[in-house]
Amino acid sequence: MSDTTKKFLYLNRKAPYGTIYALESLEVVLIGAAFEQDVALAFVDDGVYQITKGQDTAGIGVKNFSPTYSALGDYDVNKIYVEKESLEARGLTVDDLLDLKYEDEDDDWAEKDSIRVVTAQELADIMDEQDVILSF
């Protein structure tokens, strides 16, 4: 698609159903995967709720799109950063999050966790390394 590879970070900051940012961010990630860039996702603030497990939207009549996150590993999107402080402020731990996995082609396709819990400072350093940050 392109001979340039850049580091893209999708920064997700908002809860999944109160606004459409989360769903439309995920749509960009899926389309963007075809461009074979170096992609990472980060979840901060209420954005951490986007990848909590056990989401049930039956009562609000909105499509539950959280199963789609589990497909990201198949799109070579396997760097998913979650800010530690945002989890703690909401009484959440990594056990409350979806079990997102990918198969590492450099390690005999071993199944590995995509989610990496990082501190705000570590996330700031990660953001500093990016070429493009799409903030939703």
Binding site: K6, Y21, E24, I31, A34, S135
Partner: protein, 130 residues
């Protein structure tokens, strides 16, 4: 420098489109290049020619259309976001069986790949949103 611009909010409700407009104008005045301006989320509502704001206020859509014509800017509306919000060009209206279109001059409807391409091609992608 070559800039890509992403606008994620609709006109009047939010300052994102105004701020982006002022940024783009200032960048062009300084001799920078604007690779593309991509409208996403409610930002697609910047591209309907059916807005009629009070005469003593700015017309955000007309301002974009005029700037695009003057500088040959590429104003791209995301098709998926546009379909949800009723922004139509002639082709899309025909395809969807809708009895009219409302896209403003200088805007075009295309896919999200255009946003990713802007991220790849531009030196900086600047996001204007909430």
């Amino acid at each position: 420098m070559k800039f890509g611009i992403l606008i994620n909010e609709g006109p009047y409700q939010h300052q994102a489109s105004d701020t982006a407009y002022n940024f783009v104008k200032a960048a062009l005045d300084k001799g920078h290049e604007i690779f593309r301006i991509f409208f996403y989320h409610d930002g697609v509502n910047n591209g309907t020619r059916f807005t009629v704001p009070p005469q003593d206020d700015r017309n955000i859509q007309v301002r974009w259309s005029e700037l695009a014509e003057k500088h040959g800017l590429d104003l791209v509306i995301c098709i998926a976001a546009a379909q949800r919000r009723g922004i139509m060009d002639e082709d899309e209206a025909k395809r969807q069986g809708i009895d009219g279109n409302n896209i403003a001059p200088g805007f075009r409807i295309s896919g999200l790949g255009q946003l990713i391409e802007a991220g790849i091609q531009a030196d900086r992608l600047v996001v204007f949103g909430d």
